[in-house]
């Protein structure tokens, strides 16, 4: 009996864990009635590459994802294509698929063995797909369940200690108790400290702008685009006319082909600014100035933003927590002798002369005080 209870417990535990952590797949899209079901079905099968002999290596869906994905994909997803060609004619679509203009696209599309009627079927499917949109992955919510299960375990242990008394080895119970409580505390602590923080945040942007292509491959200086970094608190998300400096000519992307750059062209021509997703979200009650750090402090961009030039999609590498700020302010030496502003700090100059201190950090001039950032 005793054996059974502990065994059943562990089975339940493991099973539920597996169940909770596995992602739940989405339902299939419903089909419309305008066209015959078979046509749509065939279009869908074509798009997913399920029809023999049409694709050599990759099918449409292999590059143009139909499901929301976490990973970075250079190619436009299925919905983007669908919505782009929804209002356009079949001829345009056929032309785009079969006679690709951009280099990246032609490499892949030339391996297709599609005829015009195949493409028509694919468009049928895409027009249908436009209304359903990308299949969403349901969020994985294992942490909450883990927390609740630990709670169940804890209550079971407590009940067993006081009422059931089924487990004779009290030490086992004690260990389970301590581990469960500890684990819960750890979860709470982690969740609590990460409240409002988003380290490793890496959202998809409306335009797949790559810092690798711009900053590394083409060696464009950060300040060419982020123009206000040396004189304002904000570094400046470049406005479209800065993009236009080059992209009035450059229309074919190294990795992305024409589709991404065409968004910039559209924005400029139609006069609609691009709505970027903010990656680094500092809380509103914190004052931060890029100019202070970049021009006065001569801090490299990478110190906070990491190896941006290696990122196709920008990711937040620092947690932007107060501890992280303070630590840097404690350790970082300021430009004390180069800037006449600091002449007023007579005591610090004296201390440097006498050798009492060997360097002046931001902290020594008050860089760790509340009102330097919070007001």
């Amino acid at each position: 009996m005793r054996k059974f209870s502990s065994l059943s417990f562990s089975l339940i535990f493991v099973a539920s864990f597996i169940f909770i952590t596995s992602p739940v797949s989405g339902e299939d899209a419903e089909h419309g009635t305008d066209h015959s079901k078979e046509q749509l079905m065939r279009g869908e099968r074509l798009f997913y590459g399920l029809i023999e002999g049409k694709f050599e290596t990759k099918a449409c869906a292999d590059c143009h994802n139909t499901v929301e994905i976490d990973t970075f994909n250079w190619n436009p997803n299925a919905w983007e294509i669908a919505s782009l060609y929804k209002e356009k004619s079949l001829e345009e679509f056929q032309n785009a698929v079969l006679n690709p203009t951009s280099q990246t696209m032609s490499v892949m599309h030339l391996t297709f063995h599609l005829n015009e009627s195949d493409v028509e079927l694919i468009k049928l499917f895409l027009d249908e797909f436009e209304s359903t949109g990308l299949t969403k992955q349901k969020p994985v919510i294992n942490k909450i369940f883990l927390f609740l299960i630990l709670g169940v375990v804890l209550s079971w242990v407590i009940l067993d200690i006081f009422f059931f008394k089924k487990v004779k080895k009290r030490l086992v119970l004690a260990i389970i108790f301590v581990v469960a409580v500890g684990w819960q505390a750890k979860l709470l602590y982690e969740a609590g400290t990460s409240l409002g923080r988003q380290e490793n945040y890496e959202p998809d942007q409306p335009v797949k702008f790559s810092h690798v292509v711009h900053a590394a491959d083409n060696q464009i200086d950060c300040q060419y685009c982020h123009t206000t970094v040396t004189h304002s608190k904000s570094a400046g998300i470049p406005d479209v006319n800065i993009c236009w400096n080059c992209h009035s000519i450059v229309r074919d992307g190294t990795y992305s082909g024409r589709h991404q750059i065409s968004k910039v062209v559209d924005a400029y021509e139609q006069g609609i600014p691009i709505e970027w997703i903010r990656v680094h979200n500092l809380q509103d009650h914190v004052f931060f100035s890029h100019a202070q750090h970049v021009k006065v402090g001569k801090i490299e961009c990478a110190t906070c933003h990491g190896p941006i030039e290696e990122m196709h999609r920008v990711k937040q590498v620092s947690d932007l927590s107060m501890g992280w700020c303070i630590n840097c302010h404690r350790d970082t030496e300021i430009q004390f002798f180069d800037n006449p502003f600091y002449e007023q700090y007579k005591d610090l100059h004296k201390k440097m002369k006498s050798g009492e201190i060997d360097r002046v950090t931001a902290e020594l001039t008050g860089g760790t005080e509340c009102s330097k950032c919070h007001y």
Binding site: A191, P238, N281, A291, T365, S371, Y375
Partner: protein, 990 residues
């Protein structure tokens, strides 16, 4: 020093009534209502909050596994060249609201004007602003603004408006256009264009509060109907009769700076002007006078008459006949005759007979061309009462077909305007709704001054430009454009103004014309450099008939420093601004003298019925016996959600006297009702327990001993001993000095602080509970007998003590000292124990009892998306349950430090100006680095007049105060020793 007191109760009983009632009970009530779920915002009461607290810790962790909301960053498509995101731009512009002129700099952040600053280069306003100017930026984001053109209740397009108006005016009927005083040369040109097209048009300028008497008196005496330029800076002897020239009279900002420049007393220059104020109500100006004579308006006319005859006798001019005056004015005559050519007599009366006397006295004393100026005359207040009176008569007789009212509110300020219905067609042009706009058939929204082009000539020969700082928020159109369209002109007003400036105002010399427009626009003003011709050279002695009526009780009406004539009634910043003298906000009240109150059996905060209208009573020390006073500007009915139904409309008591609007009324009937009406008054809050707060001396004593009145400072300095290590500040140690001799109590700094620091408006009920949030207040103390007390104004903000009592009681270290001597508060760390509030001897800390933003219970400026646009993005909006206080505008300190660092240079003295300092019209506040012995603030602190508030507590404040010096004879028997009278009573803090 004499005992200072703050209210009548304190004078009589030593304590305030509120305190008598028991502070404890008050606090209990105050605490209980925080639990009242009716008042608390939607998120539930504090008790609910505590119940939920336990759950929230766990749920916070659970919730945290959700993503943060996605934030977008949308850059400009094509960024305008001068805009740098995150940095403010300043544009020079002009403030003129029909009554008051100011050259201003508008701080525009990310496309939104958020703050008005004074333009220090302007030769007219010289960097000063008034409370009204500071608050005007909020009117831009007022919900009560007119948003669309409306015809008989239907929204129509501007094309339809024009078609309709041209049709109507084309019929050729008699058109009358009523505007406030117009000082814009280009607008005059627009009006000329309009009248050319419609010759049957009459243009009338109408001032709610008129100065027609001065103009007409000057016409009689000099043959030119002008208001002369006043040079208070050149006057050594100022004799003012009921003129609140520092508060609201004609050009208070300009006058305050001039006046304050004569009140600067140093050991090197131990001189100051002498200012005598003869008045019935205790005005802000009267509270600053060296000597104040409270008399009835009739009596002050008689005094003037007496002085006139005495001066005429001494100067060989003909006499006039006046009844004898009760009060002897001989010493004023002696002083005036001694100060020929450097004295100044002014009167706030609108009676041309009195103004003739004033002008005559000034002329006989030779003051014209010295303290008075007939060349650089003041162009404000151009309305003629006579002309307006004739217009009303013709309107009543049905002779007016079309009536266009632009930015005037006669329906309110005439106490009803039934005659308006006689006009066939009525149109209103203005930026915000009011009683008049509601009564008109056609409503044409005008721009706010921050959205519009414009210009001004406030003083003859001094021009000023106004430029738009934001794209119009609503479907409004400039008043001038409406007229130009109505006159079927192709040219728009912005084209016209530039043409007018470049061709008419611009200097003739060819070389200085290059980029002249751009340069002038950048500076905001232009001085022609040519001395204008004197308006008149001739003088003819006046014939004055003084017939003062005998009356037991006279009502005098005045404009309040906050609301002016009521045009700012919907501005919550100004409604919550305590009156400089009575410290009452959100209401007007009948000021009654102590003697009259005893005689009539009136209680403080009782209610009387005056001609059938119920008015609350305030017993006002210094009110002349036989007079009662009431502020204009209240009792609006169509001002908007904030301004409606507050106080009573006092314009109903404004009467016509021989065609002039008289602001005194001796025909009132008053009855005691027995009701009471509690007023929201702030001076009795935040008591400092009767310690020697304001130190004063007389000029004579000061000349003998510069530290006169300030002996206690030396004494405490000598006894300073401490166990704590001495606070040392490397680099910067910020400090401030307040010159109590220069401060006039005008409240400009208070509103400036509100605008800069996103300070919440809490409303009348909360003010009554002592929960006003102002970081900066101006304390007003009285001393002497309440019949004619001495008044003191003391600006008070956080003292930034180096040995701060608030810091060491905070259990979570949310408040602490910075290495630059600032006492800082980290709002996010504060848990709201309020220990710091209780331990602050200066009562400068404020607690957020509620969430004041996005809360329908506090339906003021922070409860609408539109008016939240005024918030300063550099200052956190505080949450419920945290303590806040003055930071000495740390955001400005940091900004200027960074600017210096970026440019790699030393920070200059005077470069950092906290909001209160920046626009102080009298220059009473000085901020700077106390570590630099050469800084202005260090030098002022070296003066013998400098002391610190409650310095005996060894709090080591960073804010110094300079003793108040009065230019009076030292009064024997009043030794400066009463400071020892520190109350021994128990200290209960408010």
């Amino acid at each position: 020093m004499e005992k200072q007191w703050r209210s009548i109760e304190e004078y009589k009983y030593g304590r305030n009534r509120e305190e008598e009632r028991g502070t404890e009970a008050l606090h209990k009530n105050a605490l209980l209502d925080v639990l009242d779920s009716k008042v608390v915002d939607a998120s539930g009461s504090r008790r609910d909050f505590l119940k939920l607290f336990g759950f929230s810790v766990a749920s916070a962790a659970v919730v945290s596994s959700c993503e943060k909301p996605v934030q977008k960053a949308i850059p400009y498509l094509i960024k305008p060249e001068e805009i740098i995101p995150g940095k403010a731009n300043y544009y020079a512009s002009t403030f003129f609201d029909g009554t008051e002129y100011c050259s201003v700099l508008v701080k525009v952040r990310d496309g939104r004007p958020i703050k008005i600053e004074g333009n220090h280069q302007s030769p007219v306003s010289r960097g000063g602003t008034s409370a009204r100017v500071q608050a005007s930026v909020l009117n831009l984001y007022d919900d009560a603004r007119l948003k669309e053109p409306v015809l008989s209740g239907n929204v129509i397009s501007w094309e339809d408006v024009d078609r309709w108006v041209i049709n109507k005016l084309g019929e050729g009927g008699h058109t009358v256009l009523v505007t406030p005083t117009n000082i814009s040369p280009s607008t005059s040109e627009v009006l000329r264009n309009f009248i050319q097209v419609y010759p049957n048009t009459q243009w009338i300028q109408y001032d709610e509060v008129s100065a027609s008497g001065i103009r007409d008196a000057h016409f009689d005496l000099f043959g030119a109907g002008v208001i002369p330029g006043f040079h208070f800076d050149r006057a050594e002897y100022i004799l003012s009769f009921d003129a609140d020239f520092l508060g609201t009279w004609i050009a208070p900002v300009e006058f305050a700076r001039d006046y304050a420049s004569t009140r600067e007393v140093t050991t090197a220059h131990p001189h100051m002007s002498k200012h005598i104020q003869v008045e019935s109500a205790l005005s802000m100006t009267g509270s600053n006078a060296d000597e104040r004579i409270p008399v009835t308006p009739q009596e002050s006319a008689l005094i003037l008459g007496y002085i006139y005859n005495a001066v005429a006798a001494a100067s060989g001019f003909p006499f006039i006949s006046v009844p004898p005056s009760v009060i002897s004015a001989d010493r004023f005559v002696t002083d005036l005759l001694e100060n020929r050519e450097k004295s100044l007599v002014v009167s706030g009366s609108n009676d041309p007979e009195i103004q003739k006397l004033v002008a005559g006295i000034n002329y006989m004393l030779g003051n014209y061309n010295t303290t008075l100026d007939l060349k650089k005359t003041i162009q404000l207040k151009r309305g003629s009462d006579q002309e307006f009176q004739e217009f009303i008569v013709s309107l009543e007789q049905g002779e007016v077909d079309n009536l266009i009212l632009a930015n005037v509110n006669p329906v309110y300020s005439l106490g009803g305007f039934e005659a308006m219905k006689k006009a066939g067609f009525t149109a209103y042009i203005g930026s915000a709704q009011n009683e008049t706009s509601q009564a008109c058939q056609l409503i044409c929204p005008d721009h706010h001054f921050l959205e519009a082009w414009g210009d001004a000539e406030p003083v003859r020969g001094s021009y000023s430009l106004q430029q738009p700082c934001i794209h119009p928020l609503f479907n409004s159109r400039a008043f001038q454009d409406s007229l130009l369209k109505g006159a079927k002109k192709e040219r728009t007003y912005d084209e016209l103004i530039r043409f007018w400036w470049e061709n008419v105002i611009a200097p003739r010399e060819a070389e200085s014309n290059e980029n002249w427009w751009e340069r002038t626009l950048q500076a905001g003003f232009f001085n022609s450099g040519q001395e204008p011709m004197a308006a008149s050279e001739s003088y003819s002695a006046p014939e004055v008939v003084l017939n003062p009526v005998e009356s037991d009780l006279v009502l005098t009406l005045y404009t309040s420093v906050g609301l002016n004539d009521g045009r700012y009634a919907n501005n919550p910043w100004l409604q919550e601004l305590p009156d400089p003298v009575s410290k009452v906000c959100w209401d007007n009240y009948l000021s009654v003298s102590l003697a009259d109150a005893d005689k009539l059996g009136l209680e403080d905060e009782g209610v009387v019925s005056m001609d059938g209208i119920e008015v609350p009573v305030l017993i006002q020390p210094g009110q002349a016996k036989g007079t009662v006073s009431l502020a204009l500007g209240y009792g609006r009915t169509k001002a908007g959600k904030v301004g409606d139904k507050l106080g009573v409309n006092a314009f109903r008591w404004v009467i016509g006297m021989d065609g002039y609007r008289a602001y005194t009324n001796d025909r009132i009937k008053m009855e005691v009702t027995g009701k009471t009406y509690p007023l929201a008054r702030t001076q009795t809050h935040h008591t400092m327990e009767g310690r020697p707060i304001v130190r004063e001396t007389t000029l004579e004593e000061f000349r003998e001993d510069p530290s006169a009145g300030n002996e206690f400072h030396l004494e405490t300095e000598a006894h300073h001993q401490t166990l704590y290590p001495e606070a040392k500040f490397d680099g910067y140690h910020w400090g401030m000095v307040v010159d109590q001799n220069k401060c006039t109590g005008c409240n400009n700094c208070v509103v400036s602080c509100i605008a800069e620091n996103n300070i919440a408006v809490v409303g009348k009920e909360e003010v009554k509970k002592r929960r006003i949030m102002h970081w900066m207040r101006i304390d007003r103390y009285f001393s002497d007998h309440p019949d004619n007390p001495k008044v003191f104004h003391q600006p008070l903000m956080c003292q930034h003590c180096d040995n701060a009592p608030c810091e060491n009681v905070c259990p979570v270290s949310a408040t602490m000292h910075s290495n630059e001597g600032l006492n800082q508060v980290a709002y996010v760390r504060c848990i709201g124990t309020k220990y710091c509030i209780n331990n602050c001897p200066y009562r400068v800390r404020r607690f957020n009892w509620y969430k004041y933003i996005k809360n329908d219970k506090f339906d003021f400026n922070q409860n609408s998306d539109l008016s939240r646009l005024v918030l300063n993005p550099d200052v956190t909006v505080r949450e419920r349950g945290v303590v806040e206080k003055c930071t000495l505008c740390v955001q400005r300190i940091q900004e200027k430090k960074l600017e210096a660092k970026l440019e790699g240079r030393v920070l200059k003295d005077g470069e950092i100006q906290p909001a209160c300092v920046q626009s102080c019209p009298s220059g009473a506040l000085v901020f700077g680095n106390m570590n630099d012995p050469e800084s202005k603030v260090s030098k002022l602190k070296m003066q013998e007049r400098n002391y610190y508030l409650l310095e005996q507590l060894h709090t080591l404040p960073s804010v110094g105060y300079l003793t108040k010096v009065r230019n009076t004879e030292a009064e024997p028997g009043k030794s400066p020793d009463s400071r020892t009278a520190e109350p021994a009573g128990e200290e209960q803090h408010g």
